[in-house]
């Protein structure tokens, strides 16, 4: 394997894995919160929040990347603010993770939201009568029941993050070892005549990683579902 990929490509693989995992894990709590809010609460900004969440899906990735640059870049309003606390996204792998996280967010939220909507509120009521506060009800009833949806959302988001390219490269560009993810490396190969076979190699790696994640999530979801169905 190490022979098959150059050290730089190998670096890109590792970085992509890191970026995608961090993107998914870091956005998960927000994803669950937003999904819960959208599924269960009615509040004035409901439609707006919903629209915002879907935005990265509609916008061409370049535009999302550019908007990220404007807001989270060093000179961007949010970026400058976070800079004070030593949080920097620009040209860091963290920025790649941010871009991937945002691009994957609609997928994460929608999967979780669908699962939440499928949970019978009567079970949550039953938990409440047994003394569980809203938070406890969520932790002990809702959350375990939506695990399959969470896994589904995570794998969608992970796959999306593994493939995300436009927003990432626009936001944090492509610095080998720091922000060069698999898709940028693949893109680079496709830009030169005869680069197809090298690109194909990297594509295979990306696909293999994503499929492994997919099978893991299917397996987890199925084992949870089996438990719930009571067999």
């Amino acid at each position: 394997m190490t022979d098959w990929l150059t050290p730089e490509e190998w670096q890109a693989v590792v970085l992509s894995l890191r970026v995608s995992s961090v993107a998914v894990l870091a956005s998960l709590p927000f994803g669950v919160l937003v999904a819960y809010a959208l599924a269960r609460w009615r509040f004035p900004g409901h439609g707006l929040l919903n629209g915002l969440v879907h935005l990265p899906l509609v916008l061409p990735p370049v535009v999302t990347g550019y908007l990220l640059l404007l807001s989270f870049g060093r000179r961007g309003t949010i970026g400058a603010f976070l800079d004070q606390f030593g949080i920097v996204f620009a040209f860091r792998w963290t920025g790649a993770a941010l871009a991937c996280g945002i691009m994957a967010f609609p997928l994460l939220v929608r999967a979780i939201r669908l699962s939440i909507e499928a949970v019978d509120p009567k079970l949550e009521q039953a938990a409440a009568t047994l003394g569980a506060s809203r938070l406890w009800v969520f932790a002990t009833v809702t959350l375990p029941l939506i695990l399959p949806g969470i896994f589904a959302g995570m794998v969608l988001a992970f796959a999306k993050a593994m493939g995300e390219f436009g927003a990432t490269i626009t936001f944090v560009s492509n610095i080998p070892g720091q922000t060069q993810t698999l898709p940028s490396a693949i893109y680079a190969f496709l830009q030169v005549p005869g680069g197809e076979s090298s690109a194909a190699r990297l594509v295979l790696v990306a696909v293999a990683v994503a499929m492994a994640a997919l099978f893991l999530s299917e397996w987890l979801a199925r084992s949870v579902a089996r438990r719930i169905s009571g067999a």
Binding site: F91, S173, A188
Partner: protein, 234 residues
């Protein structure tokens, strides 16, 4: 008659103008599909219904030629471009570009924005220039590579990167950047936009447009965008 042109995306402003003029003059309709040169070349090879191809570099035109899709006689180097060093801000201090320019000191911990140095033409040219000046080794680690030259420009324009290397054509129009130096013409291979008629081009209108590209009106349009108009096509 419809003329379908596949052209590198960076030509949009100039070509839109030329196409409109041509259409008004001849009554033929010119449709231009703008995308990356690599995408367009591959599409042509896979049978795209394009009459003309204008590439941003020679390599991809060569690929099309290799596939035997060029109408034998009509290929020429249409345009040239130059590489410049840009800096964030309207009135950045000029930089003398030569073998002893201290880019690292200039960057001061910031990044040098370029297009992808191994695959995207503007990046390839930039890397060649830096190499021939002996600056590449020192600055290599500080280079932020974008997927296209416009994205590199955006990094400098937003101030994310203090300096960048882009085409003169791109630098000219952006108010947030200033051109602080030009790379010596001999430090990088000449930047060439070849144009060619493709085998599927059948009718006279296609050739007429091909010819019009090297006409006076076209020349003005190209130069307005900062391109150098090269020796005429055959």
């Amino acid at each position: 008659e419809e003329v379908v042109v596949f052209a590198a995306a960076s030509l949009k402003n100039a070509l839109d103008e030329i196409a409109a003029d041509f259409g008004a003059e001849t009554g033929n309709e010119v449709t231009v599909s703008y995308a990356g040169s690599s995408q367009l070349a591959k599409q042509i090879i896979e049978g795209a219904p394009a009459d003309l191809f204008i590439s941003a570099n020679v390599q991809w035109m060569d690929e099309v030629a290799k596939a035997g899709l060029l109408a034998g006689d009509a290929r020429g180097d249409l345009l040239g471009n130059t590489l410049v060093l840009i800096a964030h801000g309207k009135d950045a201090a000029a930089v003398e570009i030569g073998a002893d320019t201290d880019l690292t000191a200039l960057l001061d911990g910031g990044k040098l924005a370029m297009a992808m140095v191994d695959s995207v033409p503007a990046g390839q040219y930039g890397k060649a220039a830096l190499e021939s000046l002996g600056l590449w080794e020192g600055v290599q680690a500080e280079v932020a590579q974008s997927d296209n030259v416009r994205a590199a420009l955006a990094l400098v324009s937003t101030g994310e990167a203090p300096y960048g290397i882009v085409y003169a054509t791109d630098a000219a129009a952006d108010d947030n950047v200033s051109v602080v130096g030009e790379f010596p013409a001999d430090s990088y291979p000449s930047i060439i936009y070849p144009a060619a008629l493709l085998t599927v081009a059948a009718d006279a209108a296609d050739r007429a447009f091909y010819d019009a590209l090297s006409g006076e009106a076209a020349k003005a349009s190209f130069e307005k965008q900062g391109f150098t108009v090269l020796t005429q096509t055959q």
